[in-house]
Amino acid sequence: MGSAHSVPAEMRELADRTGFTSEQIEHLHRRFKQLSRDQLTIRKENFDSIPDLEFNPIRGKIVHAFFDKRNLRQESDGLADEINFEDFLTIMSYFRPIEMNMDEEQLDRFRKEKLKFLFHMYDSDHDGKITLQEYRNVVEELLSGNPHLEKESARSIADGAMMEAASICVGQMGPDQVYEGITFEDFLKMWQGIDIETKMHVRFLNMETIAHCY
């Protein structure tokens, strides 16, 4: 699994930045090469080669999230056309499990990062707010996997959820108040008290466990 002794400097730097171990990085690199067909960058089309992803209802949004510049920690906005390995790792690092040795502040930051990722996924027009339309979009996609559920229902559910969010975030509203959309602070408020760290992570094993499925 690669040279244990002479770890290249970039690898170490990557490891530091993203928090993965070298084995995990190696492993992900191998996967990256598979996906990109040995190119240096990945484009959206490369994700089409993953068979299981086809059945995922929110596939579009997830792939989109990989190219979202906000997730890539770049200052600019919008979508990147292609991402390199470093970006790939950055996105993956959002899903790292919590480590035992994290302190309060790190945990908090970690949590915020995960939630921010989620927020960006919902907020498709990048304006920093999740509006009703966007929310409806998300819910429709989410529930599209169920063939028996009609669009109307999905919409109503989205509306209901939005209302619920509004009531949590803003509480009582006056008769003329208009609720623009969910901002990130509101989003955080919604998730207060709910344990997201354990729900939103993937185990990146040190060993090879794979489905080389193509």
């Binding site: 995922n56 509306d159 939005m162 990146f204």
Partner: protein, 784 residues
């Protein structure tokens, strides 16, 4: 090593006892002796006293009671009264408890932690058995115990039967202690799955003892190991097979609704007996039968059958548990079997406790490398402490052949003491321990639509990430299973109608809708009686506007309100009422169908349940309207004498008073005679019913979510709603028109109450949608 008996597990009990005789004795004890009266009165007394049962687990009380009764009989007659025989235990008392456990098992939680559970169940039990047995043998060799007629194998045999954590005891004790669900499922899952290990070890060692220690070779040991796999996997497969059968059968029982519950019990019991017959692990069989069939059976069978099954199962399980503990107590009063060996008994106690702790710590340390959610020290403490031994160990030890195992009496006595100790002492102290250690308890949270939605989003995201990063993880597997289930299994095993309405998110949505509806109506009323009538303007609605273009004209159509203003949630019913009368265009029917599509269906199923004859479609509508009126009136009436906190959020706790104007208006609302189609509004009721049924699905169907313990409170709803519905449906049959109904109701306004009254008292915890105070109808009548 020539011997006829293979180390394969034989019948674990070979009925020397005649079951009929046993039952006779049971009955005799229950019905004839004087102790019965005491028995019943005692049961009544401490069942009523919740204070007692909060501190002392019921199991402990029952044992003590049993001891007491046994003592009485002994004192009176100087004979040992009835003893708990293995046959009765294994054939009649244990299956209901295990089936109950399997049927109500939270599947997602269970399978999510299956790795940990299996590790503890298999490795943990083997560890416990081996170490206990060997340590006891070691100490025996030092001579402290004096002379015993035993060898190494006897000790190992004893170790194997005392090692297993008992599901009955665990359930009984953990019931009082509400630890968090992960912890509970691990301990409980372990207690269920270790049966295979126990069976194999017990039989292996027993046959070893039979053939004599000199004849044990490596081959035999290997055979033993192989038999473990056969027993466990075989038992599981038998269970799964019968689960499949049961689900399939339940799909076709539409026309024999009455005996649906029967199928559930009979087929499950059949799985138990079949596994037993094949010398496989019967407990595993019935457990997996319950686990695998629950989703499909609950979807397929009718509401009432589902309730029946629930209650019968709980009743049988509860009864069996009571009997088990009672008879444990009674059986202990049998001087013939008492052999006392201080060292042995004491050391057994010490060893099982110590080795359990060591085993748990070691295994947890290994597990934490692989688990996402780590198990902390506190969890480990609870796990070690919660490893209770119970009646299974007792039954197994009584089963020993005294000719082969010379020291049977000693073993029996020790087992009794161990069981008593764990159940009574550990049971008593575990609750304070849990509180002292501040173990994370189950969270009871109100269902949030957002949580459900995002939970669903998470599942998909994580699966996607696992796919992208090329790993086979939990989510990948779960996703795969879920797809497989939806594509093939559900099509085969679930009714067509059930397939559509199974979405969890829908359930929460319905429920929240209803809550909203009520809060909304209440809010409007609070503002004064005229607020409702005044206008359909948006200031009557819950004040959230999502910047959608507001209607410039007030006279907008029903569907506009429905679709544009955050869906059916913002339904100004009064306004709709009026507008409906004036606007009769196709939009109405479109709106009706929209709602009907996803809200109406769950309810429809029930309609056909009670009618013995076909219901024509037109009658449907009429009956729907009648139901609607009835429940709308009830619901609005319910606001009359209870208070409502003004809070837009979902935390409705009280309902407030209505004033006279409302009532008057309300009765105006109900038109005389034929009612024009109030489709959207009508759907509210249906939603309610639908919701009630969905809710009850939800309370059991906690597969996908693991934060569903919040729905425990909703169990109550189960009682009311079938009755409520039943009542309504009864009512349907008698009515042909609204007027007639009103006349009839005025005449006999006590009528519905006997049906409604008892349960309505319990309505408190449930979302107010189902809450109908008993007096509402009465008061309504007076107005009319």
């Amino acid at each position: 090593a020539l011997h006829r008996t293979p180390p394969f597990p034989k019948q674990i009990f070979y009925g020397e006892e005649n079951p009929i005789k046993e039952i006779n004795l049971l009955l005799k004890l229950f019905l004839h002796s004087n102790s019965n009266k005491l028995f019943y009165s005692f049961l009544a007394v401490f069942h009523l006293s919740h204070k007692v049962t909060r501190v002392v687990p019921e199991s402990a009380l029952l044992i003590v009671l049993g001891l007491f009764l046994g003592g009485i009989v002994w004192a009176a007659d100087h004979i040992a009264s009835f003893a708990l025989t293995p046959t009765v235990f294994f054939f009649y008392l244990l299956p209901p408890i295990v089936l109950d456990a399997g049927y109500f098992m939270p599947n997602r939680l269970f399978f999510g932690n299956l790795g940990s559970i299996l590790l503890y169940a298999v490795i943990g039990t083997v560890w416990n058995a081996a170490t206990t047995g060997l340590s006891l043998y070691g100490v025996y060799r030092t001579g402290i115990m004096g002379h015993l007629n035993t060898g190494l194998l006897d000790f190992l045999l004893f170790g194997s039967l005392i090692a297993a954590v008992d599901p009955v005891a665990v359930l009984a004790v953990f019931e009082e202690v509400h630890v968090n669900e992960v912890l509970f499922i691990i301990v409980f899952g372990e207690s269920l799955l270790n049966d295979a290990v126990t069976v194999v070890l017990y039989n292996v060692f027993e046959s070893f003892v039979t053939i004599g220690p000199e004849n044990v070779t490596g081959v035999e040991c290997v055979k033993g190991i192989v038999s473990f796999f056969v027993v466990s996997l075989g038992g599981t497969l038998v269970g799964i097979f019968f689960a499949f059968l049961l689900s399939l059968v339940s799909r076709f029982t539409k026309h024999v609704r009455i005996i649906e519950p029967g199928f559930v019990f009979i087929i499950s019991y059949l799985s138990y007996l079949t596994a037993e017959m094949l010398s496989l692990s019967a407990i595993l069989a019935i457990t997996f039968c319950g686990i695998c069939c629950q989703k499909y059976v609950k979807a397929n069978i009718s509401e009432q059958s589902s309730t029946t099954v629930r209650y019968t199962m709980k009743m049988m399980a509860s009864g069996a548990e009571t009997i088990i503990f009672m008879f444990l107590g009674i059986s202990a009063v049998n001087p013939e079997i008492w052999t006392w060996n201080t060292a042995f008994i004491l050391l057994t106690l010490v060893f099982i406790s110590v080795y359990r702790v060591i085993g748990v710590v070691l295994q947890t340390w290994i597990l934490n490398h692989y688990r996402m959610v780590q198990l902390e020290i506190i969890d480990q403490v609870v796990m070690s402490y919660g490893g209770l031994r119970g009646a299974v160990a007792f039954a197994l030890v009584v089963l020993l052949d005294v000719n082969k195992v010379k020291e049977k009496n000693l073993f029996v006595s020790t087992t009794i003491i161990v069981v008593f100790f764990t159940v009574i002492f550990q049971g008593l102290t575990i609750k304070p321990l849990v509180q002292w250690l501040k173990v994370k308890k189950t969270e009871h949270r109100e269902p949030k639509l957002n949580e459900k939605l995002h939970g669903r989003a998470f599942d998909h995201i994580l699966s996607a990430i696992e796919d992208i990063s090329g790993q086979i993880g939990h989510n990948y597997l779960r996703d795969k299973w879920s797809n497989f289930d939806r594509k093939f299994l559900s099509k085969v095993l679930m009714r067509r109608s059930a397939q559509k309405s199974r979405d969890q998110i829908l359930n929460v949505f319905h429920e929240l809708n209803l809550k909203d509806a009520i809060s909304y109506v209440a809010e409007g009323e609070r503002r004064g009686s005229l607020a409702f009538i005044r206008s359909p303007s948006t200031d009557n609605m819950v004040n959230v506007d999502f910047s959608t273009p507001r209607p410039s004209t007030v006279e907008s159509s029903v569907s506009y309100l429905l679709r544009e203003k955050a869906g059916p949630v913002c339904l100004d019913m009064q306004a709709l009422e009026q507008r409906r009368k004036s606007i009769r265009d196709t939009e109405d029917t479109v709106a009706h169908h929209t709602l009907q599509q996803y809200l109406y269906k769950p309810r429809q199923e029930h309609k056909h349940l009670y009618s013995r004859h076909e219901i024509m479609h037109s009658e449907d509508d009429k009956q729907d309207k009648e139901i609607f009126h009835r429940t709308m009136r009830k619901r609005l009436e319910s606001f009359k004498s209870t208070k409502l906190g003004i809070n837009h959020s979902k935390k409705l706790n009280k309902i407030h008073k209505r004033d006279r104007g409302q009532k008057r208006r309300n009765s105006n609302v109900i038109p005389n005679g034929k009612i024009p189609s109030e489709n959207p509004v009508q759907d509210f009721t249906l939603k309610e019913k639908g919701y009630c049924s969905e809710v009850s699905y939800k309370s059991e169907n906690s597969q996908e979510e693991n934060s569903l313990l919040m729905f425990e409170g909703l169990e109550d709803s189960y009682v009311k709603e079938p009755q409520e519905k039943k009542m309504l449906l009864d009512v349907q049959g008698n009515y042909r028109s609204a007027a007639a109904r009103r006349v009839q109701s005025r005449r006999s306004f006590h009528r519905p109450k006997p049906l409604q009254h008892p349960k309505l008292q319990k309505l408190a915890s449930l979302p107010e949608s189902c809450h109908v105070p008993p007096h509402s109808l009465e008061q309504e009548e007076t107005q009319l």
